[in-house]
Structures are given as C-alpha cells and as structure tokens.
Assembly symmetry: C2
Homo-oligomer: 217 residues x 2
C-alpha cells in the first residue's frame, strides 16, 4: 500500500451515484478508499471493481467466520479487484491464517480493537494478542483506533513494521495528527470528508494536518 | 421462523445456477436456506431476493462492526427480502442492540461459539456470556455448534425459549439427532446436502433422522 497522503477515505455511503462522485472527487488525495458491506448490499459487488479503477480499494468486511468461509470471501474480494481486506482475529488463528493465505497480493489488515464504546467489552482487552496474531499470520497490517491513541503506541511495539491504519478520526472524536504522532501509518477518515458539503476541501485540510504531523515525527 | 422439518440448508455454493438448482430441489424439505457472503460476492445481493421467493432466507453474514454499520447492514438485508440474519456479539452489546433494533420483523441470531477448532480460542470461553447478551438484546435465537453438543444444553439453560440453530452437522462431524436431543430447534446442514450427487435424497434422509430424534424427546 502506498504511503503518500497517509489518508484513507471511509466511503460509508449507500447511494451509488453519490459514492462514485465523492470517490472521484478525492481519489488523488487519498492512498485508498475503504468500503463496507452496506455499500455492496445497496448496490452490487461490482462497486468494488468500479471504485478500484479510481483508487486502491480496501474492503472493510470484518470477516469473522470459519477458515473455509474466510478463504472464500477473500478470494471473491480479490477477484473483484480490491487491494486490501479487513479481517477479525477473534474467530481464531486458523481462520486468520486461511484469510492471509488466500489473499496472495491482497493486503490483509487485522482488527486489534474497535473504536466504539462496545469495543471495550471484548476486543480492547485482547488488542495486543490480536496484534501478535497479525504478525504471526503474515498480515500486511492492523487496525487500531484513534479514539484511544495510547493503544496505537502499544500496538506499534508489537507489530514492528506492519502498517497501522487508524479509524475513529473526526466524527468519532479522534485527532488525525495525534494518531500519526502515536505511530499510525494511515488515518481513516469518513464523515468528515463524505459528509462535508465540500468533500475535496475537507480532504485537503486533513491531508495538510497529517502532512504536518508526519513532518514533526 | 417455522419449525416443520427443523432443518436449515447452508447453501455454501458460489455458482449461481447450481445454487438456485439445489435451493429449488430441497426448498420444501427445509425451514430456511442459510447463505453467506461468498455467494453474494460471486453473484449479487439480488440472490437474497431470488432465493427468498423459494424459501425463507437467513443471511449468515456474521456481522461484527460498530453499531451504525451493524444497523446499516441489517437494514439492507431486510430490504433484500431475507427472513433472518446472523450477528456476532463480541463487538459489544451496543452493536448487538443496534442490529436487533434495526431488524424489525427480521429474526436476529447471535453466534455463541463457533464450530471450527479456532472457535475454542476466543468464542467458546465466552459462549454463555454471548447467549445472555442475545436474551438481553431481544434476539430471536442463537447459533451453537453441533460439534460440541454439551454446549447446546448449556446454552439452552440460558436462552430459555429462544431458538437454537446448530451448524457443524455432517461434514464437520456433528450428528443431527444428537443436536436435536441436546435441545437444538434447527439443525443446519450444508455439504451433506449440496455436496451430494442427489441433494433431495440426502435432505430426505436427514429430515427423517431429525424427525425421529424429535419424536424421542
């Protein structure tokens, strides 16, 4: 995954034309576009392919199944033209290994903990263990929340030079520059861009903040 | 969810015409057809709608996201015509509540533990807690594995009259009659039916085994 603007757009739109319009508007300002199931279900899996013509696509599918199903999902994601996929570790190391093995040139990112309040119940206490599993399985990187920047630093100690992608910036309260300062490689931004009346201007402003934080490292 | 044959077909096919052919062949022998992401990704979300014209469809999407995304996925599943959806509890009680609230007349089933070896790492020790969360959130039922029938009995003690659906029968080693004897309401069968050269005969044989086990209760 390239590391230019260090920004990933979370395109959590379900309207097809609006999603394509925003993607087109900010594609050159982000290193990847992250999409989730609601967009695929409201349109079709063909959206993965269409968006990947504009920008590398990460399918944030939070895969959490038995090894054979994890493998089948990853194979379909790859066939549709995505560049990365997000997988849960809590369904076990065999499932995670099956996902990484099926990924080939696709980047697999493993969720360490989640950015919402319920993330504290089960995922947060296991975050470091999940980070270790990501390293062991040969994943490309991990997902660690900007809403708890101290956990980014802890996860960095475990994952070495694996990529850290950080959601929770903006609407959820995390700061892009804090996330970069604590060791995140990429900041995932959603509503602050796609929910803005001027998505490109919003993306440019955030890109500047991230660039400054990265220069200060 | 109706309780006639007490059997659910796990239609883990990714070939569209073969999936439709098998569904058509056994629709009257099962109470529901369970589909997973690989079929949706290899075809389109329209498959949910097409299959639901033959038989009630349970989307085994193992949803495991933040509350807002869980809600959006469930809304799309409902819009596509499914009758049920499978959700993980480990992303927290707020995510689970959001899924159940968005479900309306759709049945939400909560995963307690998983049937594969890696399921022992994180989900199995939390199975009873997840079952309790299903009751609290107002889910329609839970998923508990036939590969560990003693856990079905434990889960039954917690969930009262919620439905218990049991995967892991057949190819994964679990027995349909044991699962029913231990308190499962429905047995989920996949490869033993769709992988058979004669799917209808295979389904009829299993339906008979289940009927006998249910009569012996």
């Amino acid at each position: 995954m390239k590391k230019n603007t260090r920004m990933v757009l979370a395109l959590d739109e379900t309207d097809e034309s609006r999603a394509l319009k925003i993607a087109d508007e900010v594609a050159d300002l982000v290193d990847a576009i992250k999409i989730n199931w609601p967009l695929v279900l409201s349109t079709s899996p063909e959206m993965i392919t269409r968006l990947s013509h504009l920008c590398p696509v990460i399918c944030d599918f939070k895969i959490a199944d038995i090894p054979n199903t994890d493998r089948l999902i990853v194979e379909q994601v790859r066939r549709r033209g995505a560049s990365g996929v997000i997988v849960h570790a809590f369904t076990g190391s065999d499932s995670l290994s099956a996902a990484v093995k099926a990924a080939e040139d696709l980047d697999v990112f493993v969720v360490t903990e989640m950015s919402h309040p319920g993330g504290r119940e089960f995922t947060a206490p296991l975050a470091e263990r999940f980070a270790g599993m990501a390293v062991e399985a040969g994943a490309a990187g991990v997902i660690a929340p900007a809403t708890r920047p101290e956990s980014i630093a802890r996860v960095r100690n475990i994952v070495g030079d694996l990529l850290i992608l950080t959601p929770g910036v903006g609407a959820q309260g995390g700061s892009a520059s804090d996330a970069i300062s604590m060791g995140a490689d990429h900041v995932i931004v959603g509503r602050s861009i796609y929910g803005s009346p001027m998505p490109r201007e919003a993306a440019e402003k955030l890109a500047k903040e991230i660039r400054q934080a990265a220069q200060a490292l």
